[in-house]
């Protein structure tokens, strides 16, 4: 075991996969010699050479499309998009082709590829450098969507994503790359996709979040616990497939829930979670489920970022609403 950041955990997981699986190939803009814009692929080109860690021209549609062809042809590509907004030029390939090939070919073909996408705000840049578009990928049948919030999960889920026979969109919270550390095994391991993690058990209220927002969720929970509210914290981790059982079990126990996400509210993934909860937990609910989300607007520059991003204060205000209902 060693204490590593989320960024280091991803780097080590990629290194293990490249070393242990001959069919794994890493590909993207500046991922080779430079080691990627966030240095997640640092050192991999030196160790595994340019045939397995491939620099591409600026061409996201091409990267996704070629990755698709590589996957169909028998490789396991791990593609990097530099920022969430730059995955949009790749939509056509991802949505029209990657997600559908298995269904379309009546399971003769599969596309076992991983598309790694750094996402979320907190770096002061507007628009495409800070967005959270997970709902769009979740709304695309055929894709799995995974979001770690801590180093161990990042390494284990990435390995699971690489081994998974289906295409996985792997979202990496930029804000947490270097701000969270924990003990992570030095050898490779998997963390199952499709399982949420109950980080803290409680009986009064469930805070549901994923990715970067876990930081605020944890802090809000700590403050609530201090006030005597026994708060359960659930890290969804896998948006598709969604661990509905864990969500339901938690909310049936607490009767109160808040969903937190950074993406805009309307048709955010929180809406799906709330729908699942109302359908399965209606008679256990003590209060309407609250959402604390980004606003329905374009992600702003630094000076308004703190207003856009859900804060601990806003989560506590929502908790107050839910608890006083």
């Amino acid at each position: 075991m060693s204490v590593v950041t989320l960024a280091q955990a991803l780097n080590r997981s990629l290194e293990h996969a490249l070393a242990e699986m001959d069919d794994v190939v890493v590909m993207g803009e500046d991922v080779g010699r430079t080691g990627g814009v966030f240095r997640i692929t640092d050192g991999l080109a030196d160790k595994f050479g340019p045939d397995r860690v491939i620099d591409t021209p600026v061409a996201e549609s091409g990267i996704a499309g070629v990755g698709f062809g590589m996957a169909v042809g028998g490789l396991r590509p791990v593609l990097e998009m530099q920022f969430m907004g730059f995955s949009y030029p790749a939509f056509d390939q991802i949505i029209n082709h990657v997600a559908r090939i298995r269904h379309r070919s009546r399971h003769r073909f599969t596309a076992p590829l991983v598309i790694r996408i750094p996402y979320g705000g907190g770096i002061g840049a507007a628009e495409h450098h800070s967005e959270s578009a997970e709902a769009i990928y979740c709304h695309t049948p055929g894709l799995k969507v995974v979001v770690p919030s801590r180093p161990g999960d990042a390494a284990g889920l990435l390995r699971s994503a690489i081994e998974d026979p289906d295409p996985v969109v792997f979202l990496e919270p930029i804000r947490l790359y270097r701000s969270v550390k924990e003990d992570v095994p030095d050898t490779s391991f998997t963390t199952p996709i499709g399982a949420a993690s109950v980080e803290r058990e409680g009986s009064d209220l469930t805070i549901i979040a994923w990715g970067a927002m876990m930081k605020e969720a944890r802090e809000a929970a700590a403050a609530l616990v201090e006030q005597g509210v026994d708060t359960e914290v659930l890290d969804v981790r896998s948006l598709v497939p969604l661990d509905v059982e864990s969500l339901v079990a938690s909310v049936q126990k607490t009767g109160r829930a808040i969903v937190v996400h950074e993406a805009p509210r309307t048709v955010g993934f929180g809406a799906e979670i709330v729908a699942q909860i109302q359908q399965r937990c209606l008679y256990h609910l003590q209060a309407p489920v609250e959402r604390v989300t980004g606003w329905d607007t374009i992600f702003p520059l630094k000076r308004s970022e703190h207003v856009y991003l859900p804060s601990v204060e806003r989560i506590l205000a929502a908790a107050n609403t839910v608890l006083s209902a």
Binding site: E29, D30, R33, T34, V37, D55, T56, P57, V58, A59, S61, G62, G85, F86, Y88, P89, I123, G124, A125, A126, E127, H128, H129, R265, T266, V292, W295, D296, T297, I298, P300, L301, K302, R303, S304, H306, V307, Y308, S311, E313, R314, A317
Partner: protein
């Protein structure tokens, strides 16, 4: 090149303004007041100004993430730009976009663009509209060597050729896309040659030579105004600073940087016009002084300008939207 004295002075003033603006941002970026990513254009001034000196406000340009130079060359106000880059309310876009999204419709500046390859289709559409409206306006589409590899760029070149659009494609080949050399990423490495395949005239010019750029630009723009369709110019140039402010520049060597800096476009311009007696050195010095004062003032004003109001987060998302449907702030009592 037949440019009168006034045009030469104006071209120098714009190039000097870009240099001063960018050098100043480079210096001030470390102060931490400038949000987001900032990509500087210093070194490439002759390209933007060589092209834009032929344009009027009715002509359009599309730009890139490295857009400050294009804005200044097209006449966008530096005070508004500086405030925008600082993310302040009086900015050209009310502090909503920052460095990478400066736009000014009154000046025909259709926007810097955070998406590499975002410009070419937009340029084609603006050109088609200019044509359909029966004007002789043209569109200059600036993009980089990296962007030359995006599908949108190739689609745009084809569309412009098919419809004989009044577009001039200007590939600013500064050698790198982020850290990747064009010698690796551009198949064939001859970017200008690609355009010929789309049936349009195409030239490669020394992008550090204002007069070479301006001459190629003059022909291309005249051709576009005459309705004869698109032209492609590959301007071979160099960015003096890193890809973005904060870049450690590990991918190129100092010798290469020196070889480009020794051919600096501003020094060469000054050398040419003074040695030929076209403009007095003292007049250029006066411009240097005035420009320095202008940028100093722009920074002072930007620093003291107010932040965008919180309510401005909801404005400008739609032209028309029922207020009762705006989620923003309605169900959340907490304002930070």
């Amino acid at each position: 090149m037949d440019m009168d004295r006034n045009s030469l002075v104006e071209a120098y003033r714009r190039m000097r303004t870009i240099r001063e603006f960018e050098d100043r941002l480079h210096k001030d970026f470390a102060g931490g007041e400038i949000p987001g990513f900032v990509h500087l254009y210093a070194g490439e001034e002759a390209v933007a100004v060589g092209l834009c000196s032929h344009l009027g406000d009715g002509d359009f340009i599309t730009s890139t993430h490295r857009g400050h130079g294009h804005c200044i060359a097209k006449g966008v106000d530096t005070a508004g730009m500086m405030a925008e880059i600082y993310g302040k309310a009086p900015g050209s876009c009310n502090g909503k976009g920052g460095s990478m999204h400066i736009a000014d419709v009154d000046k025909g500046m259709l926007g810097a663009n955070g998406i590499v390859g975002g410009g070419p289709p937009l340029a084609c559409g603006a050109a088609l509209s200019a044509k359909k409206r029966g004007t002789d306006n043209v569109v200059i589409c600036f993009f980089g060597d990296g962007a030359s590899n995006q599908g949108t760029t190739l689609e745009g070149m084809n569309l412009a050729g098919v419809w004989k659009l009044p577009v001039v494609f200007v590939c600013e080949n500064n050698g790198y896309a982020e850290t990747t050399s064009y010698k690796y990423s551009v198949s064939g490495t001859d970017i200008a040659a690609r355009a010929r395949g789309f049936g349009m005239p195409s030239v490669a010019v020394d992008g550090l030579d204002f007069f070479a750029v301006a001459e190629a630009a003059g022909e291309a723009i005249a051709r576009a105004r005459r309705g004869e369709g698109p032209t492609f110019i590959e301007a071979q140039t160099y960015r003096y600073y890193g890809h973005f402010e904060g870049d450690s520049i590990a991918y190129r060597d100092r010798e290469e940087e020196e070889s480009f800096r020794s051919r600096d476009c501003l020094s060469r311009f000054r050398q040419t016009v003074t040695s030929q007696g076209l403009v007095e050195a003292a007049d250029l010095d006066a411009i240097d002084g005035a420009v320095a004062a202008e940028i100093e003032q722009a920074v002072t004003d930007a620093l003291s300008a107010p932040d965008p109001s919180l309510d401005s987060l909801t404005t400008d998302v739609y032209v028309d939207f029922p207020a009762s449907q705006l989620w923003m702030f309605q169900d959340e009592p907490v304002r930070v």
